[in-house]
């Protein structure tokens, strides 16, 4: 027996911080109750509508979609007057009334496809007129979009009408109804009563519901019964309260939560008829009054049912109109063909039959699918970007298409690199292919503006991104709601790795460092229960970092739009939604490396050198560049700078472009897991003959010596053994991703191949490889697209080392903090030039110090290029607390003759100016010894300026000093080297004159720690100590499925990599994640001719050991001091079990720790707070 009741008022989690259930959970609950229809009426938008419609389609429930909008208080409401006063909402509002005015609500529901369009446009209009984040609609606006008759308007218990009934003001309630009936047809106005069985003076009481229904009956309006659902199940009520508190930024209190009981869930029809009886009887309806109410509810629901495809538009495709592209539908194909032919002459010196055939094939597929305008659009966008002089590269499978190469979208030749189109665009799939563009991160928004200009705001919108609750935010919001001490909340949140909220308790079970912090205590279980209940609920709408929608003029009918924080029109749909809605999304990704390279190129030109064209480096065969890569000297280079990658390129020694493609593809979880790397390297080094599954497969597998690395190779294997086309083979490859699909493929592939004469033995092996490949492997086109900037960055580092690092320092593209890049520059003999008020600006600049030698930059023995003729000038932007306005004022008024001159013309805050002095900004004018004198003089200037302001004389009349003789010598001692370094670390976040580890040099020598530069000379398996500043921690997936922590520290001579396996994590993981200066004990492991790493057996906070050493030293002398430190290190840490955590098993059998590949606990190394170290560690007892 199906349940005829239809819930018409349902808020999901996509009503931000209001609903407690995902749309899919609500649909599942309705299906469980055997309901045939369900509404979703989220607050302020359709953020969850596409997900909801898809969930409905899966379960066969008819979706009903509406929006729940805020409207101003009606004149009769006591809060009306208050809300009329000018808004006092300020950005500093922290919680309470200011965050949430608790305005009355109105629900509008779509009845058709036109209704969906009206709903979308109504939402867009509502967002346009209100404040961002607090959209308020009104009656005229809603009625305007309802004019066509495709929307129903529902006034509920929380509407102005309902509130008036609740206040017992029947007159005001009737007035409100009349106001609506003036602008709306009677058939479109629905009164929606709700009986939550709360105490009779509250909204949602039976008494209010009865009053509302009685008035509806009097006015001959349809009355329905809704349950104002905020959760799928009753037991989620506490979560609803937490959301109320979090939304209002206040602790839980009866004044701050909306619900009074737990009745607002997806109740069964039986439950609803019970509460309907009470309502009908209070409304004075006679016999069958309740049944009548339920029947009207169902009838209204049926009016609003939508068809996911016909009404909502799921699965359609909408490309820009042809006239925008300067062509017409009929001519589009011709235009595309013509532009490809133009590209042909630019890209190839002469065309071959292979190229011609490939182009003809690709064009035929595009024609068949009708995607010509898609390619033209993307080509236009790329052209616009290039005209703006912004670097741009295609990423992803699009690099496999010759059309993309010819149109200039991609920079990699698909034919020379053996890339196939079918992985990107298949005649068997109707889905829009994905082309992603990598552009300079610093100029991404300029591109958005240009695209908006060219295509028009009616056709273009950015894509939204729902930020959902993960464990850290959930801990913060629940903790605050429960009034836990802020310090404790912060400590708990930070101790978690970046995992899903629902895994909070399993992490407590699995990770020893969390238990060590006492988070496993029973008393916190209430916290973690609530944390898990928030899992995946949206908490914030943000602009997606790269998606741009390009559509036709009907875009506004298909998606509601709001304004992003930066003022861009933004669809309320996220990237998955827009794909389901068939909107053309172009991913324009801001890539910092592209900005870094652009900066390097600008600096090359600025310093008087010839600007190289790095987009014309094909065929990418510069031996000098490969020499550097083979030395693993790749810090700062795109994709190949991580510790693991440096180890791999060191062993691999790539010497052509295809090798880089292979290298990038090999360094993925899958290949590392399944140990594809070792056989490949063995064959590659000639230690082993490559093994092929069958001679027929040799052409496909030769480039990787018989090891399957690429998706493209899987496609070719399937195609070879079955004789099918690449397009069909790609479908089979996709099916291999899940267990059910694997069975289907197996049933088709094995018999077909058997018929073609392959032996069982061969087929067994082939099938094993295909199955194992299911969850990993890499699209070669994708890797090739990545390989281009990889090569370009390595080439720049090799030939223009100082310029390249200036770019890297300015745009900070990589995984390492600036400190380490600065160390790298020092190792390359590049001078680091301090901040200088006359030379520094907002970016890192290259300065020529000597005439460069002609010819190729020489390599140092370490494999690093040597660039002693160049220096890198630090940027003003690194001065703590300096504003962009101050930087531009300083730069505009350069040069300065004295500090007095600077003081009067640059107008910089005094603390910032002090920091400029302390970091040596005036050393060039006065010399390093006089920083303290300058500080005194600054104080005088400041006093004088204030005096002058008080005496109402302008600051600007001050005489300008022409020479730097304005500062009196005070006789103060100049700053010591240590004082200078600690000032630099504190102000710039990095040491420029020395390395931070220099502080500890004496201690570390006494301790016998090994310097990273000496590691290569140590015996393998010897136990030793290293120390350094933490540069990076990673928890990558590894073969056994256990969690492994990789730690990189830098001791000033170079990076050291240490690996913590599970046995060493228990006692030491907390130290590794929370300390910044570390001493690590470990066993040396050789990883290659030039590579070593440590298998760590312990880690200690360097600062702590150093303090201990110093304090004992003062009392008992150096010997006792070192003994104390040694005791500390050798004392075993007990009480840690090494229980083995859960492993995830993929369909291929690949095992992975659930904590692999998530951002680990603690603050990322790149964001180390400046003041990590004591400002001065003091004298070490000399």
């Amino acid at each position: 027996m199906s349940d005829p009741f239809i819930h018409l008022r349902v808020a999901s989690g996509y009503s931000l911080q209001y609903g407690a259930s995902h749309p899919a959970a609500l649909v599942a609950k309705a299906a469980e109750l055997e309901m045939d229809s369900l509404a979703l009426t989220d607050r302020d938008g359709l953020y969850g509508a596409v997900r909801f419609a898809k969930a409905c389609r899966r379960t066969g429930i008819a979706p009903i979609i509406g929006v729940d909008l805020a409207v101003p208080f009606a004149p009769g409401d006591p809060r009306h007057a208050a809300s009329q006063r000018p808004s006092r909402r300020s950005t500093a509002a922290r919680g309470g009334e200011l965050r949430d005015l608790r305005l009355p609500r109105v629900v509008a529901m779509a009845t058709s496809r036109a209704g969906w369009a009206a709903l979308s446009r109504l939402i867009t209009a509502t967002h346009q007129r209100g404040e961002r984040g607090g959209p308020v609609s009104d009656r005229e606006l809603i009625a305007g979009y309802a004019q066509s008759g495709d929307l129903l308007v529902m006034l509920g218990a929380d509407s102005n009408f309902g509130l008036a009934v609740c206040r017992d003001r029947v007159d005001q309630a009737a007035d409100e109804l009349h106001r609506w009936l003036e602008v709306l047809d009677r058939s479109q106005l629905i009164i929606a009563a709700t009986n939550h069985q709360v105490s009779s003076q509250l909204t949602g009481s039976a008494r209010q519901a009865g009053g509302m229904v009685a008035l509806a009956d009097q006015h001959r309006l349809t009355a329905v019964l809704t349950n104002q659902v905020r959760m799928a199940e009753r037991h989620q009520a506490a979560t609803v309260d937490v959301l109320d508190a979090a939304r209002r930024l206040v602790p839980l209190d009866v004044r701050n939560v909306d619900r009074r009981n737990a009745e607002g869930y997806v109740k069964s029809g039986k439950g609803m008829i019970e509460v309907a009886r009470e309502v009908a009887s209070l409304a004075g309806r006679g016999d069958k009054g309740a049944e009548w109410l339920i029947a009207d509810t169902r009838h209204t629901g049926i009016r609003c049912r939508l068809d996911p495809r016909a009404d909502i538009g799921l699965g359609e495709i909408h490309l820009p109109e042809f006239d925008v592209l300067g062509t017409t539908g009929e001519l589009a194909m011709g235009a595309l063909r013509q532009r490809c032919e133009v590209g042909m002459t630019a890209r190839y010196t002469r065309s071959t039959e292979q190229i011609d055939n490939r182009l003809a094939d690709e064009l035929a597929v595009v024609d068949q699918l009708g995607f010509a305008s898609y390619f033209l659009t993307v080509a236009d966008v790329v052209q616009e970007i290039r005209t703006m002089n912004i670097r741009c590269a295609a990423r992803g499978s699009g690099a496999g298409s010759l059309i993309n190469y010819l149109l200039g979208i991609s920079g990699v030749d698909p034919i020379a690199n053996g890339l196939i189109m079918e992985r990107f665009l298949s005649p068997l799939r109707q889905a829009l292919p994905d082309i992603d563009l990598d552009v300079e991160s610093a100029r991404r928004l300029d591109i958005y503006r240009r695209v908006l200009d060219v295509f028009g705001t009616d056709r273009v919108a950015c894509v939204a991104m729902m930020e959902t609750y993960r464990v850290r935010h959930a801990v913060r919001d629940v903790g605050a709601a429960l009034s836990l001490p802020p310090l404790e909340i912060d400590a708990i949140a930070k101790s978690f790795p970046h995992i899903r909220a629902r895994d909070a308790r399993s992490a407590l079970r699995d990770l020893p460092e969390l238990r060590a912090a006492g988070l496993g205590e029973q008393r916190l279980s209430v916290l973690f229960n609530l944390v898990e209940s928030l899992d995946g609920l949206p908490r914030h709408v943000a602009l997606h970092p790269c998606g741009v929608l390009l559509s036709d003029l009907t875009l506004g009918d298909r998606t509601p739009m709001e304004s992003s924080f930066g003022g861009f029109p933004m669809s309320q749909f996220d990237k998955d939604d827009v794909e389901d809605m068939g909107l053309l999304k172009l991913d324009v990704l801001g890539i910092r490396m592209q900005s870094s390279m652009a900066h390097a190129l600008d600096e090359i030109e600025r310093t008087g050198l010839q600007r190289p064209d790095i987009d014309a480096l094909a065929p990418f065969d510069d031996p000098d560049t490969y020499d550097m890569i083979g030395h693993a000297a790749t810090l700062g280079c795109f994709q190949i700078e991580s510790p693991g990658q440096r180890e791999l390129v060191g062993k691999f020694g790539p010497d052509n472009f295809n090798d880089i493609i292979i290298d990038i593809s090999l360094f993925r979880p899958g290949p590392v897991e399944s140990d594809m790397v070792t056989p490949f390297l063995n064959a590659r080094q000639g230690w082993q003959q490559p093994a092929y599954l069958h001679p027929d497969l040799e052409p496909a597998l030769a480039e990787t010596r018989g090891v399957v690395v690429f998706h493209e190779q899987v496609i070719k294997i399937i195609s070879v053994v079955t004789g099918c086309s690449y397009a069909q083979a790609d479908e089979a490859r996709r099916a291999l991703g899940d267990t059910a699909g694997q069975l289907d493929v197996q049933e088709w592939l094995l018999p077909t191949a058997r018929q073609r004469g392959y032996s069982e033995k061969v087929l067994d092996q082939v099938w094993m490889v295909l199955k194992a490949f299911a969850s990993f492997g890499f699209c070669k086109a994708h890797a090739a697209a990545f390989a281009l900037p990889t090569y370009q960055s390595a080439w720049l580092k090799r030939h223009y080392p100082a310029h390249f690092l200036a770019g890297v320092l300015t745009h900070d593209p990589g995984m390492y903090p600036k400190r380490l890049i600065l160390e790298e520059a020092r190792r390359m003999s590049i001078s680091i030039l301090g901040v200088d008020v006359n030379r520094s600006d907002g970016q890192y600049r290259v300065e020529q110090l000597a005439e460069p030698q002609p010819g190729v930059v020489p390599l140092l023995p370490s494999g690093l290029p040597s660039a002693a003729e160049w220096g890198i000038r630090l940027s003003l932007a690194d001065i703590k607390g300096i504003s962009e306005a101050e930087i531009s004022r300083i730069v505009d008024a350069q040069p300065y003759t004295s500090i007095t001159d600077f003081f009067h013309r640059a107008h910089v805050e005094v603390p910032v100016l002090e920091r400029l002095i302390l970091t040596g900004g005036f050393d060039e004018l006065y010399g390093q010894q006089r920083r303290r004198d300058l500080l005194l003089h600054l104080a005088d200037l400041h006093r004088a300026a204030r005096g002058r302001i008080n005496g109402s004389r302008s600051l600007f009349d001050a005489p300008t000093h022409s020479r730097a003789d304005d500062v009196q010598a005070s006789g103060l001692p100049s700053m010591t080297a240590e004082e200078r370094l600690s000032a630099e670390v504190e102000i710039l976040g990095m040491g420029t004159s020395h390395h931070i580890m220099d502080f500890y040099a004496e201690f570390l020598t006494a301790l016998g720690a090994t310097r990273s530069s000496d590691l290569l000379n140590q015996r393998s398996r010897s136990e030793l100590l290293v120390a350094g500043v933490k540069v990076a921690t990673q928890t990558p997936p590894i073969r056994s499925g256990r969690r492994v922590v990789f730690l990189t520290v830098d001791d000033g001579c170079g990076p050291v990599d240490a690996t913590f396996f599970e046995d060493a994590q228990g006692p030491y993981a907390a130290t590794v994640f929370s300390s910044w200066l570390l001493v690590v004990r470990g066993e040396l492991r050789r990883t290659g001719p030039r590579g070593v790493s440590l298998r760590a057996t312990g880690a200690w906070d360097l600062q702590h050991l150093h303090d201990l050493w110093q304090s004992v030293m003062l009392i008992d002398g150096p010997q006792q001091a070192m003994a104390a430190v040694v005791t500390e290190i050798t004392a075993a840490r007990k009480g840690f079990d090494t229980t083995h955590s859960v492993t995830l098993v993929h369909s291929s059998g690949f095992r992975q720790s659930p904590y692999a590949d998530v951002k680990p606990a603690g603050t990322p190394a790149g964001q180390a707070p400046r003041k990590l170290w004591h400002a001065s560690p003091g004298s070490s007892g000399r």
């Binding site: 069985q197 709360v198 309260d241 737990a262 429960l482 008393r523």
Partner: protein, 107 residues
């Protein structure tokens, strides 16, 4: 209104046309329900409950994990046969353990 919050025993039965608390035993006397005035459902302030106080560190023992603390309130007219006993009484039914309390007497 006087608040009591004392445990009582209740016998369910017919009150008027509906099912409800028919009789209750309070302070060793039997009270008969004459009619139901209103009935509603309330959630407790779980954030002040023992589990949350324990999480805040205010209390050491964590008690039951039911956070909803839903109670059904019955405002009834009742009398025990003695003169002057007739009045309005609020009875609370705690759903998690089925217990009843006499919450208050409305004068």
């Amino acid at each position: 209104m006087r608040n009591y919050n004392e445990s009582i025993e209740v016998q369910m039965g017919c009150v008027g046309d509906d099912e409800g608390p028919e009789r209750f035993l309070w302070r060793n006397r039997l009270w008969r329900v004459l009619g139901v005035q209103s009935r509603w459902i309330e959630s407790g302030e779980w954030w002040n409950g023992p589990a949350v106080r324990a999480a805040r560190g205010d209390e050491t023992v964590a008690a039951s994990s039911d956070l909803l603390c839903e109670q059904e309130l019955w405002r009834v007219e009742a009398a025990n046969g003695l003169a002057g006993s007739r009045g309005i009484y609020e009875l609370a039914h705690v759903w998690s353990d089925g217990s009843w309390q006499l919450r208050s007497v409305v004068d």
